[in-house]
Amino acid sequence: MKNLIQFELFKIFSKWRTYTGFIVIGLLVVVIQLVMGVEGQNFIDAATSSMKSNFDFQGDLLNAYMINRIILQTLIVWVPFLITLVAGDMLAGEASLGTYRLLLIRPASRLQVISAKYISGIIYTFVFMVWIVLLSLGLGILSFGTGDMIVIGNSILIIPENDVFWRYMLAYGIATLSMMVVFTVAFTFSAFVQNSLGPIFTTMGLVIGFSILNVFNTGILEYINPILFTTYTNSWKLLFENPLNFNNIYLALSVLFVHIVVLLLITFTYFNKKDISS
């Protein structure tokens, strides 16, 4: 199993498409930070202008925590598309290359092979999210420093500086889980076909379609939306409420986790019985 995981990771990181996401995200984070460095104060002034008559803002609100929230909010919608590039290729890539015929005639069982692939893919997703954290939070702290965090929504919430970092870590944890669901969706589709383009585009289509459904939360969609994984893409924001709504956090975690379990059961069951004809 260890050998399988090592080699799967080696394979993932030997392909150029793996680095597409890292490069794209890296560039976007740096661009957003540059823009915020130049225009950040104007942005904050515009965002708080309507409240300045009632509130007196003290200290520098343009800090890494505030910018990081903007980055996460902007990028988390696009990360699934980058993750599916790798996930969609995990199993379908073997079929299209014809390497199943060499891989599945070894002492390792199909369950072990597919588990190693899934674990490797999850490690990739995790590393990808760590890359986002390092760039957006790490580079942000170095460039802009820290401070109290202002969360502007229906109401204004000021989170003290010493109360922000752990919230971000947990927020990234939830965001990572929701990206793992996206990975699992593409991975499942990948088991059924022999060409990686199919699972990549199907997953992208599903993310777009479900996201559109999420916008219209009326009628029957009120019942459907809570079970769609895209509903929880922005659940990381739950960590920036005061007080924390643990019921909503647990619900998000549970729905995402159930998605992973159900999709993996489908994938394992199908793959175990699949005839390798490629």
């Binding site: 399988l4 290359l97 014809g98 005639i105 070894r106 390792a108 005839d275 004809s277």
Partner: protein
């Protein structure tokens, strides 16, 4: 070969159906330890499907497969550490080097994957100097050589090779033939080889099975099959006209396939060949050459109707 040898692969009443097509139809085979077994059949006969089922790439509809005496459906996958295989095309991770591919598949089968051993096997199959090149730069023949290397690197007891000389040049074919023969004759391995190049199988195999439409038509040693088969025998005469006249009025006439400028081509078995020579001697007809064309290809065409 000792007939008491243990069965390495035993297939009993194997059936594989794809929707309405029966790709393998009640196939039974028994491959003993230490033989080079040729698995022959026309295109679409069910050879590759059978091999895929043996290697657990496909599930059978019914029937039983035993590998090294153990029921495949019930045994653990450890048995696959004793098997090396190459199924159809030699497809690898083209974005990785040959040595990395070999290391990966070797490790999965429990081989010694030290650099020294990897280089040894790549050298053995004629890939020395190209070890670190990515497989996407390899020709079909080179991939085939790498395919053989990954099949033998873990020193398996059973080798299952589907068209192992595909894409190889004549020298490469000879090298692989010698390698496989050495594995059987000097190392006691069992080799199960499917090929459409019948001359190649004939020159290597000790036993063959011929299948058609998913069924075994015949199975046995190459020697026995050829001895019992009808062969094409060309008789050349000093006086073809006289020989033709004598033959026309006898039962030998029905054995004639063609009459050429100075020769007659007969379809005969061994005994009939001997009798026909005596017949011409009795008639004082001089024969200046007899050329039997007794090979697996003729035999194969006879029993499959030549639809390869």
């Amino acid at each position: 070969m000792n007939m008491d040898n243990q069965s390495v692969v035993k297939i009993t009443n194997l059936v594989k159906e794809f929707k309405n097509i029966k790709a393998v139809d009640n196939l039974s085979l028994d491959i003993k330890e230490g033989v080079l077994f040729g698995f022959l059949g026309p295109n679409g006969a069910g050879k590759s499907t059978t091999i895929r089922i043996i290697l657990s790439l496909m599930r059978s509809t019914s029937g039983k497969i035993e590998l090294f005496g153990k029921d495949l459906s019930q045994s653990d996958r450890y048995v696959f550490s004793k098997i090396g295989a190459l199924v159809e095309r030699p497809d690898f991770y083209t974005y990785l080097s040959a040595i990395k591919n070999l290391e990966f598949f070797g490790k999965l089968s429990g081989a010694d994957t030290s650099k020294k051993n990897l280089y040894k096997y790549l050298d053995l199959v004629g890939l020395a100097g190209r070890e670190k090149d990515k497989v996407k730069t390899y020709s079909m023949g080179m991939k085939q050589r790498l395919g053989i290397a990954q099949a033998i690197i873990h020193n398996p007891d059973l080798l299952i090779l589907d068209e192992p000389t595909n894409g190889l040049d004549p020298m490469g074919m000879k090298e692989i033939r010698e390698l496989l023969t050495d594995l059987v004759e000097n190392q006691g391995k069992t080799v199960f080889i499917s090929s459409h190049i019948l001359k190649e199988v004939e020159s290597m195999a000790t036993n063959v099975a011929i299948i058609d439409k998913g069924k075994t038509i015949i199975e046995g040693s190459v020697e026995e099959l050829l001895a019992s088969s009808i062969m094409k025998v060309t008789f050349k005469f000093e006086n073809l006209e006289l020989a033709s006249q004598e033959i026309r009025t006898t039962d030998w006439n029905k054995h004639i396939e063609t009459i050429n400028q100075n020769s007659i081509l007969f379809n005969l078995d061994k005994k009939q060949t001997s009798n026909l020579i005596q017949f011409f001697a009795g008639k004082s007809i001089d024969i200046y050459s007899i050329v039997p064309q007794n090979n697996l290809e003729n035999y194969f065409i006879q029993i499959t109707g030549g639809n390869n």
